[in-house]
């Protein structure tokens, strides 16, 4: 382009940031959730596949994971869901103090979930090397736990940024996208809970 063509499309009036699903970061995270959700589907499918091969599930009736801890996890996850929903509504108002406060709340909930999961896994009557059932249960719970830890760290780091600065407008979008991650964790736990805790109990052949 040696000389400037006559016509131009002037975009200087367009906004320089966006805080909703039109943001590029939002899209990137959605692709990431698609990837991570696929890994969950794979591990659920692995569980179902191994189930088909094994007449006695779990091997030894008494070894089933206790309903209490999984259900407590489910309850806390539902609290996380509600908390995220309100945090996101607040984030849309673009006021920094409540955003900080809500992020800290989510970090605390994340820590509770991690603690619960630790108790839950410790209470399992089998180890990952006991049998294939043990392997798949441990890996499924572990995969979800890794995500909880990662999401808690993400929220904690973002909260720290919001406290010590420098804070920019784009952090609003970061806060909302972190909320998406929490939603994702809730969405992955519900089927996991049904698969591991409910189906073997109430859907026995």
């Amino acid at each position: 382009m040696a000389t400037l063509p006559r016509k131009v499309l002037d975009v200087s009036a367009l906004p320089e940031t966006t805080f909703d699903s039109s943001g590029v970061l939002w899209w990137g995270n959605c692709v990431m959730f698609a990837i991570e959700a696929t890994t969950f589907v794979v591990i659920w499918a692995t569980y179902a596949y191994l189930r088909l091969r094994e007449p006695d599930w779990p091997p030894g009736r008494d070894e089933m994971p206790r309903l209490l801890w999984g259900t407590l996890s489910l309850a806390v996850t539902l609290v996380v869901f509600a908390a995220t929903y309100f945090a996101d509504r607040v984030a849309k108002r673009k006021r920094i103090v409540p955003i900080r406060r809500n992020l800290l709340g989510l970090v605390l909930l994340g820590l509770v979930l991690i603690a619960l999961r630790a108790v839950e896994m410790k209470a399992l009557a089998f180890k990952w090397d006991s049998h294939a059932y043990g392997s798949v249960v441990w890996v499924t719970l572990g995969l979800h736990l890794c995500h909880i830890i990662a999401c808690t760290i993400e929220s904690a780091v973002l909260a720290t940024v919001l406290f010590v600065g420098p804070v920019y407008e784009k952090h609003l979008l970061d806060a909302r996208v972190t909320g998406l991650y929490w939603y994702f964790l809730v969405a992955m736990w519900v089927p996991t809970y049904i698969l591991i805790y409910l189906l073997p109990r109430y859907l026995r052949p």
Binding site: V8, P15, V31, V167
Partner: protein, 666 residues
């Protein structure tokens, strides 16, 4: 798919004079400048640099994989040769297959996408530049790790699909298969990261007016292949992780004795493995369409049919994996569906082949090297497709399973379907990447030699397979009658070697002495030809706009360009996903150490896991630190956004109250 007309451009205001053009250029040069030296090498995040790096690294691994192939052919040239022992031979064929699939074919197609897609879309960089740099480091680490292991005689030796139980802890003690599993993890992370930013770039960085219905065919191909990557690669990443866990911490996913199942491995691997073929083949398909249209001097025949065929291929591609497992004794009723699906692939592929032929037939073909490669592709790939239809039939598959017939088929589809188009594409876009033309004469010789050498090498394998020669044997007896076929095959491999060598010579020579290319040596369509060769780091002085499916061929004489972008920082224009209406502007991050640091953290973790499971725990901490550094905002915002700008009445939604965002104010 139809598109809204682009917004009516406004007449240039006073301040846009040629003098301001010079000022804009200088400002952009400053904003997009790479640091020099080692720092520049390790911090750069620009897609042309990373793309070229991807391509060069993948070609390097291609050469290594080729050397392994040559060694195998050398061993098999005569019966009962002792040049290479069985143990080394096992490592060679495993590393050859793994290299060609995971370190060459997938990354090279991704590298071409990383280089070309932003240029074709008329933008300045990919959507997530740091992720792009990170994905390269993952790919490089995976490759170097595999080869370091091979040199230490710890090369994987259970085949490129590492079937359990052979690859399990009982039959493959030692670290060899662990190396394979971690190499897979590295390259899958790389491919997934690459797919993520290519998808978002394609949807959101398009030039104004480039609606989905006007996307260049190659961008469609790259998009579809990236979407396939998102849903296919997690399978193999998960499979390799489960295998690694079986081997390292004694889980029992694939251990029959404890309720596991080896067939599970095959399902997981091939649910990824077959889409993988299309992840490689679709971008190649995009090369073919681009080259055929440009060298027939006409738009591609049947653009919608072409795009729909690619989408159909992607969907059907996920429903054919069991045809790799016909010999495992799965229920016949079930497998027959997979036969049907496998044969169904012929419909979209055939549609595309007819569209290419129709384009050539009705155009005015210019018989340059890229088009010659495409012709070679058509011949070879159609043969490969035919043997594919044959293999989809269960009775035949059971006869030739694990024989050289399969080896012949897969090389016909992969070399035919990917390598020939790739070489055509490299000849086509080399001038854009380097600013110089490859030698046409040498190019023709290369193409002819590659075609002859390829057929000489792989055609006899069909017959060898039908005669019963199994794959993966390091030698054979003279009485088998396989000697002639193998000798011919080895001679063919020598010719391929010469052809590839000629290409390397051509590329090296042209880098310094080739004729200068100028912006557009081919009279080609596509926005990448709108800018200089090689493109500047900001790609376009003014971002282009588009008013038709063929951005340059349909451009108005005074086609509008985008102005009003900031030039003092790395600002890009974000458009809407479907109709590519300008939506907002965004600032990309500057060059950064964080992708390299994160790459090192992940590398240390995954390599450490082979030696102790605790590395997972240390690694988690290490990666968390690296990621925190990655996302931590810079102390001083070098490019504060302008809030005082007047905004058009319908543009701003929810104007931000700046005062609420600064901690000291609150």
């Amino acid at each position: 798919v139809s598109a809204e007309p682009i917004p009516e451009p406004v007449v240039a205001p006073d301040h846009l004079l040629p003098s301001s053009e010079e000022a804009d250029r200088e400002a952009l040069e400053r904003a997009w400048a790479h640091p020099k030296g080692l720092r520049g090498w390790l911090t750069t995040c620009h897609h042309t640099t990373i793309g070229k790096r991807y391509i060069m690294t993948a070609l390097f691994f291609f050469a290594l994989g080729g050397i392994e192939a040559a060694m195998m052919r050398w061993q098999l040239a005569f019966p009962e040769r002792g040049a290479i022992g069985p143990d080394l031979y096992n490592q060679l064929f495993t590393v050859h297959g793994s290299t060609m699939m995971f370190l060459f074919a997938v990354p090279v197609m991704e590298g071409m996408g990383i280089y070309l897609v932003p240029l074709m879309l008329g933008t300045r960089n990919v959507a997530f530049p740091k992720l792009n740099a990170f994905s390269y480091y993952m790919f490089l680490t995976g490759g170097l790790f595999l080869y370091a292991a091979l040199l230490l005689n710890t090369g994987p030796d259970a085949g490129w699909f590492s079937y359990v139980p052979l690859s399990g802890p009982a039959f493959s003690p030692g670290k060899r298969v662990d190396v394979w599993a971690q190499m897979i993890t590295f390259t899958e992370i790389s491919a997934l990261a690459g797919a993520t930013h290519l998808i978002v770039t394609t949807f959101r960085h398009k030039a104004p007016g480039m609606s989905m219905g006007r996307l260049p065919v190659f961008v469609w191909a790259s998009l579809i292949s990236s979407l396939m990557t998102v849903f296919a690669m997690p399978l193999v990443a998960m499979a390799s992780s489960l295998l690694a866990m079986d081997r390292l911490v004694a889980t029992h996913f694939f251990n029959v004795a404890e309720g596991g199942d080896p067939i599970l491995w095959q399902h997981m691997f091939w649910f990824f493995g077959h889409p993988e073929v299309y992840i490689i083949f679709l971008p190649a398909n995009g090369f073919v369409s681009t080259i055929v249209a440009n060298f027939s001097r006409r738009p591609i025949f049947g653009y919608p049919a072409m795009v729909i065929s690619m989408i159909a291929t992607a969907f059907i591609g996920f429903g054919v994996w069991v045809h790799h497992m016909f010999a495992t004794g799965l229920p016949q009723m079930g497998t027959s569906f997979f036969t049907a699906a496998s044969i169904m692939i012929v419909i979209p592929t055939g549609t595309q082949v007819f569209c290419w032929i129709a384009t050539l037939w009705s155009g005015r073909p210019v018989w340059k090297t890229p088009l010659l490669y495409v012709l070679a592709f058509l011949a070879v790939f159609i043969l490969g497709g035919l043997s594919g239809v044959i293999l989809a039939s269960i009775p035949i598959d059971l006869q030739v399973h694990d024989t050289y017939f399969v080896v012949a088929h897969l090389h016909y589809v992969l070399i035919g379907g990917a390598l020939f188009p790739l070489f055509g594409a490299l000849h086509f876009w080399y001038p854009k990447m380097t600013g110089r033309m490859l030698s046409e004469t040498l190019g023709r010789v290369e193409c002819a030699l590659l075609f002859i050498g390829f057929n000489l090498t792989f055609f006899p394998m069909h017959r060898l397979g039908l005669m019963g020669m199994p794959r993966r044997i390091y030698t054979y007896l003279p009485e088998t009658g396989w000697a002639t076929g193998n000798l011919v095959s080895t001679c063919g491999a020598a010719i391929i070697f010469v052809a590839i060598l000629l290409f390397a010579v051509n590329a090296a020579w042209a880098r310094g002495y080739g004729a200068l290319a100028g912006n557009d040596p081919w009279g080609a369509d596509g926005l990448e030809w709108e800018t200089s060769s090689p493109p500047p780091p900001y790609n376009f002085l003014y971002l282009p706009t588009v008013r038709g499916r063929y951005a340059r061929w349909t451009a108005a004489p005074d086609q509008a360009v985008v102005t009003g972008m900031r030039t003092d920082c790395r600002e890009i224009l974000i458009t809407r996903a479907l109709d590519a209406e300008p939506h907002h502007r965004d600032i990309l991050p500057d060059d950064s150490w964080s992708p390299f640091v994160a790459g090192v953290a992940v590398a240390v973790t995954f390599i450490g896991i082979i030696f102790t499971p605790w590395a997972f725990v240390y690694g988690f901490v290490l990666i968390a630190i690296a990621m925190t550094l990655w996302f931590w905002p810079r102390r001083k915002d070098k490019h504060p956004r302008h809030h005082e700008q007047p905004k058009a009445k319908d543009l701003p939604r929810d104007p931000v109250h700046e005062d609420t965002l600064h901690p000291e104010v609150v």
